[in-house]
């Protein structure tokens, strides 16, 4: 048992992994434990990043090298707030860093949103990435047309996954159940709806460009749709980012390119329209949309406002709603019900009196909201961990009543016989990569909790608990 500070990180996604890595850079004597609800670490890197973006998933090697390989313990298949409480963690650790992300999705608030065939895009994402809680979902991919609502990178991901060929998907680590369902898919057209205009899309230009480069897929953009209104034009010139200018340029090119002949599938990008109702008799049959115009708000932001006029109906059998993630409250810690984050100042979680709660921190989406890309979490983690180290060195952190690391592990193992440690995860990882190498895929994922726990249990029992 060491004498350094003992830190619990709740959530082994990118924010938690970057926090663990940063802790070690600043305090080599820190003892860091990663708590994870799933039997597998790395959060949205494994369960969010699209399977056809394998190069990004390679970040798992760096995460492993900078955390688990350096002695960070993993407590997988453990839900904080259920299997172990916040108060218990505070008895065992010098500090607890919450890195739980944003686990649910925002709703559109329109009629028909809950009809069968209308899904949160995040459910589709979790399903094709083999998240064990989503394995049983059944997406009906027999209709000819799907509608994706939203103009961000999750919308781009699910659109690509719907139009890529099964040959392309079979080279990725897409979950087997999803590969099989997508192989049978009869979807020919995906219509992507943007509330605002081409200058305001939230796609990166890289993801937008990729939509136009897919094998056997025609990308349609209406020429009128890409002509900027005066408000967007002046906004783009004054305040537009490099990415926004690139996006407008790309959309212009797409709108003026000839139709790709012999295409298997088609993506249609529509702008300045909002869904007003999802309709159908017992299941999704159509989405009604209304035109928007852009207005400049008092704060200078550009908002969409519906214009009077006819409602247009788009017939479709599948709707994926991709309008953002949202965090959920955690038992035992404060929650800001308006901003959907843990109330915090530079990562120090604040109590009801507005003062920092000693030893409680936040990092990632639960700290700043669901914004930014993977690397954003590195700087975010740096800020939180620097506050923690500053508090530690100023003696502002409580001394844990129960500092013996073995006792905590014994407590967890006593409550949960299926605790997944580093050795268990390594056994899962090796198993998946081995199956993958035989199929010339990066890995073949285990996607049910039982399969994952069985593979983890195959780790030599003498290794566990070390």
């Amino acid at each position: 048992m060491g004498s350094g500070p003992r830190i619990a990180i709740v959530g082994a996604g990118p924010a938690g992994a970057f926090a663990a890595a940063t802790l070690w850079q600043l305090r080599r004597d820190a003892e860091v434990d990663l708590f994870e609800r799933l039997p597998t670490p790395w959060g949205l890197l494994r369960g969010g990043v699209a399977p056809d973006h394998q190069e990004i998933k390679r970040l798992d090697d760096a995460f492993d090298r900078e955390t688990l390989a350096r002695g960070c313990r993993l407590f997988g298949n453990v839900e904080v707030g259920v299997d172990v409480s916040h108060e218990e963690l505070m008895r065992h650790y010098t500090a607890v860093i919450y890195a739980t992300g944003a686990q649910t999705d925002k709703s559109l608030g329109i009629p028909g949103e809950d009809l069968p065939g209308s899904w949160a895009a995040t459910e589709f994402v979790a399903w094709y990435n083999g998240h064990p809680d989503y394995r049983g979902l059944e997406f009906d991919l027999s209709p000819q047309r799907a509608v994706v609502i939203g103009n961000g990178n999750v919308a781009a991901d699910v659109t690509r996954m719907l139009v890529r060929s099964s040959e392309e998907l079979a080279r990725t680590d897409v979950a087997d159940h999803a590969l099989e369902a997508l192989r049978q898919s009869r979807i020919e057209e995906v219509v992507v709806l943007g509330r605002r205009g081409p200058a305001q899309v939230a796609f990166t230009s890289s993801e937008l460009r990729e939509l136009g480069q897919l094998d056997g897929v025609d990308l349609r953009v209406d020429r009128e749709d890409v002509e900027l209104d005066p408000i967007s034009q002046s906004w783009l010139e004054e305040l537009g980012t490099f990415t926004a200018r690139k996006n407008v340029q790309l959309l212009h090119e797409f709108a003026h390119q000839p139709e790709r002949t012999g295409a298997r599938r088609r993506i249609v990008l529509r702008f300045l329209c909002s869904p007003v109702e999802i309709r159908g008799d017992g299941r999704v049959e159509a989405v009604d949309i209304r035109r928007n115009e852009l207005v400049r708000g008092d704060d200078g932001s550009i908002r969409a406002r519906p214009v009077e006029g006819d409602v247009e109906t788009i017939e479709c059998g599948l709707v994926l709603r991709s309008v953002g993630y949202r965090a959920v409250p955690l038992p035992g810690v404060p929650f800001d019900e308006r901003a959907f984050v843990l109330p915090n100042e530079r990562g120090r979680v604040l109590g009801a009196d507005g003062e920092p709660l000693p030893g409680v921190y936040a990092v990632g989406w639960i700290k700043r909201g669901p914004t930014g890309i993977l690397g954003t979490n590195k700087r975010d983690a740096d800020e939180t961990v620097r506050c923690l180290v500053e508090d530690l060195e100023a003696d502002r952190l409580p001394v844990p009543a129960e500092p013996d690391p073995e006792r905590l592990q014994a407590l967890l193992a006593g409550r949960n016989p299926d605790l997944v440690t580093v050795e268990g995860w390594r056994a899962i990882d090796a198993h998946e990569r081995e199956r993958g190498s035989r199929a010339q895929r990066p890995r073949v994922k285990l996607s049910s909790r039982d399969e994952l726990l069985e593979a983890a249990a195959a780790a030599s029992p003498s290794d566990t608990g070390s």
Partner: protein, 93 residues
């Protein structure tokens, strides 16, 4: 020759930390950093030292001559980022 950063960049700054000639931008703290979707290499300054390639955890950086076809656009894109930035600085000055 220069190196180029492709769209799979996750902006984790590992390359900025190792670049000996400070040719990778925007940097944390720059006004255009938060809105940038990726980092870019200034082809006028890059000395082809390979340090960034080794540092990148997601293999998003390529020597110009070995850039995969699907990232061919990235050479112009990297250069264009700096051309726009220079123009903006001249206007502001």
């Amino acid at each position: 020759m220069t190196y180029v950063i492709a769209g799979s960049c996750i902006k984790d700054d590992s390359c900025i930390e190792v670049c000996p000639v400070d040719c990778i931008h925007p940097k944390p703290g720059d006004p255009d950093f938060e809105t940038a979707e990726q980092l870019y290499i200034d082809p006028e300054i890059c000395i082809d030292c390979d340090a960034c390639v080794e540092a990148c955890p997601v293999d998003a950086i390529f020597p110009e001559a070995f850039t995969p076809e699907k990232f061919a656009y990235a050479l112009d894109l990297n250069a264009e980022f700096f051309a726009e930035r220079d123009a903006a600085e001249r206007t502001a000055a």
